[in-house]
């Protein structure tokens, strides 16, 4: 998703890649947040999003949101 949005090689996006090293600026961040919210059907809080500075933190944050989402949805 990040590789596509930034038009950079997928290999360059590693778990420990910082957004800074990938050249991700504030507008790119907005784009990524928008894509993540659409892809996973989640809502990412502004203040929490601001704390995230690398891919690892991003994945961790998304995982938490997805876990919270499945926990709150009714059991089938």
């Amino acid at each position: 998703m990040i590789a596509t949005s930034k038009r950079i090689p997928i290999e360059s996006v590693q778990p420990d890649s910082s957004f800074e090293s990938l050249g991700i600026d504030s507008l790119d961040r907005l784009n990524i947040l928008f894509d993540l919210e659409s892809e996973f059907d989640i809502e990412i809080d502004d203040a929490q999003a601001k704390q995230v500075t690398n891919i690892h933190q991003m994945v961790e944050g998304i995982t938490q949101l997805l876990e919270a989402k499945s926990a709150s949805s009714p059991a089938e």
């Binding site: 600026d25 504030s26 507008l27 907005l30 947040l33 928008f34 502004d46 203040a47 999003a49």
Partner: protein, 406 residues
Amino acid sequence: MSSVNRVVVTGTGVVSAFGRGTDAFWQGVSSGTSAIRPLTGAYVAPIRFNNGAEFADYVPEEHFEAKDLNFMERFAQFAVIAAREAIASSGIEFSPELRESAAVITGSCLGGRPIEEAGYWELFHNGKNRVHPFTIPLSMANAGASHICMEFGLEGPSYTISTACASSTHAIGQAFWMVRSGGASMAIAGGSEAPFFLGNLKAWEAMRVISKDTCRPFSLERSGLVLGEGAAMLVLETLDSALARGANPLAEIVGFGMSADASHITQPAATGAIRAMRGALRDSGLAPEQIGYINAHGTATETNDRIETAAIRETFGPHADKLAVSSTKSMHGHALGAAGALEAVASILSLRCGILPPTANYLTADPNCDLDVIPNQPRKTHAEACLSNSFAFGGLNAVLAFKTYV
């Protein structure tokens, strides 16, 4: 007419979240009262913020006949109401010659897009195959200027500038230069905006720059801007013609500077702001030490306030610690294309009345915004001259300089 005229402001008109009129606006901002409140529209539910500076009590029918309202979106109505007050308060009477050479320069960022939104909803969702036949004349950003021209029969150079949050500062600056050079005998200049419609609120939400709290410029706790609506118009004329008809100038407009950051589409660069402030100072012939007050752009985003502080420090050097700076957006909200005009009125009246409006909602000092920001309480100070800063998304900057007229 000489080629370089002194230009004065002889009338103001305002529509804002404080209601109709310059008096209501000035009473609000000069007392440190914030007009930011929960939004009243039906669109509130699905939006991640719920505050704004709305003119909630506005009743269009009190100002226009039904047949005229068919041709005017909310932002154009605001423009005309503000122009009516500005012209009435200036006491100017239009001769046929004056009408022919009077300029009307307005700023608006969004124009009348709500009518487009309504039409597109019908097209995309309700299977309709047509939109309202007035969609174009209602939505065009120059509708405000056109309606002012029509109402008062003004036939001189008239146009609309759209530079996002700097629109009406650019408009006033252009009008000032036009009157100063003799290109127009007088001008109605300002801006209007009505940004409270769902598509636009969603667009701002997606930018993640709107505070969920309130607008706290220069404060450590600031969390973004709060949208506002309204209009402000000025009557600009030459000092000679104002005095000749016995008018009472409110202030002199002495300088205008503009620049482009040429850097980033949303992140401001201090260099552009510095060049715009220096340009306004140079154009005015004022020494930096004569500036006692700056009405800051002060959006309350983390970046703007930090960069603007650095830019003021660089422009003014040691004098930065002696001048007072405030953001009245903390009270009237960020009215986008009308913001600069509302702030120009606040600047003019601060010189006129000897009261500097505060930065409201201020909590804790931010070391990155270490100027005298007049926290929360208005200050009785007679500034000799002031600047009014507007720095738009897109890096387009405009700064006006006003001087006390005595």
